[in-house]
């Protein structure tokens, strides 16, 4: 396994094709949607749509790739052994974070510093001027958190730390390949080093994805509305899609004769994660919905009113069908989670479902009735999928596929669920 993996011709073709299609969509957007025309809410819908779609896709794909590092972090902290045989896959996926992170930052900062009040209503300085007729008491109260400077600083710091700690974790793993087998003492030291950095990552992950980042990047579209569950909900969405992405890559690599130690047992555990976190996502979705429905306070129900009535209602329920009912019923059986074809189908479905979920988080508050699921939307998604495929391919083809000196490798080889 020391020789590196050569990417199949088809993979490269698809990567180039998706990026190409995405760039055409982006170019089309630049020409047709006049993205740099200034517009208030609902005035220049095409330009709003351009930025809303970019925001949705960049945040979604950044979060699902970053979920891979979260997976490595939690399994490291839990002293997990079973995932070692497939650990290079989440490592490869998390190596996309710096690239997508920079793209996301460019998009977010263009929105915030480009004064796009149609996306983020709260960046309008008039709202905080008591003399102005636009003065907004509620947003004025949120000024300490929801302001462009804090948004910028915190976003940059977040992406930097995701990249930096993730890079550390990946480098430990890659160093272990070069250093040869570890004896007991070295192994212990190496594991402890991993645990230290994994815990730093998890703590910061809690401060970013677990709380502030979804508030800033997505929830602030509906700036008056807030839900303390929103970040957990977003996290669950991105984590289950992230596990699905890992599953797709495992099936792909296994088909190509790689990942020699990965068996049905490992796929079964990945499938359990996909199943369990689909249910967890539903739990958070429902808890958020029911409390707001029950309390029936106008400033809270507004968020669901626009989604439940009018053009979004179909997507709203489709979201539940794809992300809850289908994993629950199809993935419940043990044999389903050990079926490589079915896992692939479910993984694609779940990623698509959560992409739709992010779509319905972003669109109602920005483009409202003019939201679309047209070639432009899918083209931009293809661009991001292509970028992920490209970076993951680079990582996989330049590093050994199995962390062969990991002290827990044997535990993974004999793993039995």
């Amino acid at each position: 396994m020391s020789k590196s993996f050569e990417l199949p011709e088809n993979y490269n073709k698809w990567t180039k094709g998706l990026i190409g299609a995405g760039l055409i969509a982006l170019l089309y957007g630049f020409i047709a949607f006049h993205p740099f025309e200034h517009a208030g809410h609902g005035e220049n819908v095409n330009s709003t749509r351009f930025w809303a779609v970019l925001l949705q896709n960049s945040v979604f794909f950044l979060l699902i790739t970053n979920a891979s590092m979260f997976f490595i972090g939690v399994t490291t902290l839990a002293m997990g052994g079973w995932q070692v045989a497939l650990k290079r896959v989440p490592e490869a996926i998390s190596s996309v974070v710096p690239v997508l992170g920079i793209i996301t930052l460019v998009i977010l900062l263009s929105i915030v510093w480009g004064g796009r009040t149609d996306i983020f209503h709260w960046i309008d300085p008039e709202l905080y001027n008591p003399a102005s007729p636009k003065f907004d008491k509620i947003l004025n109260g949120k000024k300490g958190f929801l302001n462009p400077v804090f948004f910028t600083v915190w976003s940059i710091l977040t992406v930097f730390l995701w990249w930096f700690i993730g890079q550390k974790m990946r480098s430990f793993s890659l160093q272990s390949d070069a250093n040869g087998p570890m004896d007991y003492e070295t192994g212990k030291k190496w594991i402890n080093k991993n645990i230290l950095w994994a815990s730093l990552f998890i703590v910061f992950f809690g401060l970013s994805v677990g709380s502030t980042i979804p508030w800033l990047w997505i929830m602030s579209i509906d700036a008056h509305w807030y839900s303390t569950m929103f970040s957990w909900y977003t996290f669950a969405s991105s984590f289950v899609a992230g596990m699905s992405l890992i599953a797709i890559y495992i099936v792909f690599l296994k088909n190509k004769g790689q990942l020699e130690y990965v068996t049905d047992e490992h796929l079964h555990d990945i499938g359990k994660f996909m199943f369990a976190f689909s249910v967890f996502w539903t739990y958070l979705w429902f808890s958020q919905y029911m409390l707001i429905w029950y309390a029936n306070i106008p400033e809270e129900t507004g968020y669901f009113k626009i989604r439940l009535t009018g053009p979004f209602s179909g997507i709203f329920f489709l979201n539940l069908v794809i992300n809850f009912l289908s994993p629950l019923l199809i993935f419940m059986k043990k044999s389903a989670k050990r079926n490589w074809t079915l896992v692939t189908i479910m993984a694609v479905l779940i990623i698509f479902g959560h992409w739709i979920d992010f779509w319905q988080m972003v669109m109602p508050g920005t483009v409202a009735n003019h939201a679309a699921l047209m070639p432009f939307e899918f083209g931009i998604a293809a661009l991001f999928v292509g970028i992920i495929m490209w970076r993951v391919g680079v990582f996989l083809s330049s590093h050994p596929m199995t962390a062969k000196n990991h002290p827990f490798l044997k535990e993974s080889i004999i793993h039995h669920t």
Binding site: F286, Y289, M290, W293, Y294, N296, M332, H416
Partner: protein, 197 residues
């Protein structure tokens, strides 16, 4: 009480690493394994013994959907037909408010149903007794009971188990089913052969 008295050759193993090949070899030699008793759940042993996959989860699923339907029909009947109440101006058919109860009843039915089914399948119940092939099976010993049919040569099985790594082998005439009563009247074996049990 079902089953009747049968004769068994019982082999005791100290290590699951010895037990696994022993189970495989005993099966390959064509002996009939009555059961293997282990101090803790051993992963993959059911597979090695050739037991079929349990249907307990199918039963669990059925209990679960029974709970779901019970909760939904019961609550909807109460709140829409039997005793409609105006609660906070909500519609009588207030589905979101019922989901937590529905969930709880699903879990309750599935859990209680599965526990009872499990006890039934394992013939476990208060006051119901079953023969223990070795008291250390609940402590630190892996105990394999091989049923003697008319074709089985006892001495041969004993030799076979010895070769397979059993540390203790004996022959027992034991009741295969359950009974209600006391151990001391039926189970004399350990009282006679081994002091301290």
């Amino acid at each position: 009480m079902a089953g009747g008295i049968k004769k068994f050759v019982v082999g005791c193993f100290e290590d699951e690493a010895v037990l696994f090949p022993a189970v495989k070899n005993v099966r390959r030699a064509g002996y009939k394994i009555h059961d293997v008793y282990t101090p803790f759940p051993v992963h993959g042993l059911d597979h090695a013994m050739g037991l079929r996959e349990t249907s307990l989860h199918t039963a669990g699923f059925i209990y679960g959907i029974t709970g779901t339907t019970t909760a939904l029909t019961c609550i909807s009947w109460i709140f829409t037909k039997d005793w409609p109440l105006n609660i906070g101006g909500k519609p009588h058919f207030a589905l979101p408010a019922w989901i937590p109860i529905t969930f709880e009843l699903t879990v309750l039915f599935a859990a209680v149903g599965m526990v009872l089914t499990f006890c039934y399948l394992c013939q476990l119940s208060p006051f119901v007794k079953k023969h223990h092939f070795h008291p250390r099976a609940t402590d630190d010993l892996f105990v394999m009971a091989i049923e003697c049919t008319e074709k089985t040569n006892e001495a041969e099985v004993t030799a076979f188990l010895e070769k397979a790594g059993a540390i203790e082998i004996n022959t027992q005439n034991a009741e295969t089913g359950w009974w209600i009563g006391r151990y001391d009247k039926v189970q004399k074996l350990y009282a006679e052969t081994e002091k301290g049990y």
